[in-house]
Amino acid sequence: MMSSVIIENLSKSYGDVSAVDDISLNIDTGEIFGFIGPDGAGKTTLFRMLTTLLIPDKGKATVEGFDIVKEFKKIRSLVGYMPGRFSLYQDLTVEENLNFFASVFGTTIQENYNLIKDIYVLLEPFRKRKAGKLSGGMKQKLALCCALIHKPKILFLDEPTTGVDPVSRNEFWDMLGYLKNEGITIVVSTPYMDEANKCDRIALMQRGKILETNYLKNIIARYPGKLFAVKSDVMFILLKDLRDYKNSNSVFSFGDSLHYSDSRTDVTKDDILNYLKSKEHKNILIEEIEPNIEDCFMDLMSK
């Protein structure tokens, strides 16, 4: 497997704050790789180093074989970068922004039109509109077009879906799937854990560190112990009673049920049911479930 990105012991601090703390990993050519973690995990700092906009304190990294410090100029023509904040020219039109980015990279819209065609047709009705007057979803599509205009080998998308509603988020991921089929390596960061299942591999990040890098299914398979979804008539009291249970490992709210993990390996549904009956819960529903990405993240966070 070819690697598009190789990161070795990369670190960056701002004063006392360690934004990226000794990170090492590889990103394979042609995969969608997701950095998943809350704000402050270090995702943006990492992306800025990999796109050669920030110099690391320690460690090294290569992008498409080029060193991010010594060979930054070579990297800049190979990567497409979509920063977290909208950073196109607000007072240029859609068309002017695209032409500008194309000319900076010595190309034209026509030359790589194939790559952006599917996204650009959605923007076309607004091509004379100033970028600052576009809706959030349209701005996001324009930013993606601009990042693609020079046919990059690898795309860095820093939180492209933050603040975007669930339906529009899905549409955006569909576009990324299409770009992946065009052979572009896609590195994306997100605070929405549920987007993990849209990535090939993911790295879970928290406070500058990588908690785990793997395929989602492997991360789920490594969740320790059994997990149950539990409901009863009075969820508020159920939460308290499950937390007080002597075998309780963790209890968290998940939508309309609680996810409960038990410290015993041989625990059964009936063990929990009997305990809850003794606490006079009514209409108890217990089901053993496969953990999702948030269960895994919270488990890794607490270690």
Binding site: D16, G163, V167, E294, M301
Partner: protein
């Protein structure tokens, strides 16, 4: 007879030129209720919230918030509500104590009340004394957001408006944040909240879904799931947002 609703809206409308951002929405919210205000980007949630907070005068329709009129009594509304969003909450270059004092001062809390509130909040949030003099910028986001919520209700408002309060927050803090919402609601504060996390929609007593400036649906999460034959609120959202 006194009316029993803390927020009442009847055909509330806001137009910008030819564009109708909020199109005749009618709903009411009970005291102490956790009311989820959902919708796709651009559906009109922010515009509607700004009118209810007394920050934007409606084009037509009626609404009262905490008994005050959204046209004529916007200053009284502002005194009776709390507001927090992911984007604007506290000042990064003030310390924790300075932030509490600043907001408490703005809301006109007396010195003794402010002192009592500060002690209560620091204890509630389990913030060690050594941190209270640190600039906010150095604190983890999770702490900041929990502090921001506490400060938003420091003047004991009847209603608190939360605009995507948990965006970008880690999953454990997100849940702790909802514990605080439940406690506030238990103490009688009405919570009006927007979110893009559909599991959080399940934690609301009732949820409204806005599509193109209108309220397309409004009910308990249980009833919405039944009505749309959906397993969870995410499916409900997708069905309503796409079903136009």
């Amino acid at each position: 007879m006194q009316n029993n609703f803390i927020i009442e809206s009847e055909n509330l409308t806001k137009k910008f030129g030819h564009f109708t951002a909020v199109d005749a929405i009618s709903f009411s919210v009970k005291p102490g209720e956790i009311f989820g205000f959902l919708g796709a980007n651009g559906a009109g949630k922010t515009t509607a919230m700004r009118m209810l907070c007394g920050l934007s005068i409606p084009t037509s329709g009626k609404a009262t918030v905490a008994g005050f009129d959204v046209y004529k009594q916007t200053e009284q509304i502002k005194k009776n509500i709390g507001y927090m969003s992911q984007k604007f909450s506290l000042y990064d270059d003030l310390t924790i104590t300075e932030n509490i004092n600043f907001y408490g001062g703005i809301y006109g809390l007396s010195k003794s009340k402010l002192k009592e509130k500060t002690e209560y909040l620091l204890d509630l949030l389990k913030i060690p004394e050594m941190h209270t003099g640190k600039l906010l910028v150095s604190l983890p986001l999770g702490w900041k957001q929990k502090l921001a919520f506490s400060v938003a209700i420091i003047h004991e408002p009847k209603i608190v408006f939360l605009d995507e309060p948990t965006g970008g927050v880690d999953p454990i803090t997100r849940r702790q944040f909802w514990d605080m919402i439940y406690e506030a609601s238990h103490n009688g504060v009405t919570v009006f909240v927007t979110t893009h996390y559909m599991d959080e929609a399940e934690y609301c007593n009732r949820v409204s879904m806005m599509v193109d400036g209108r309220i397309a649906s409004l009910d308990t999460p249980y009833n919405l799931k039944k009505e749309y034959n959906a397993g969870n609120m995410h499916e409900v959202f997708v069905k309503i947002a796409r079903g136009r």
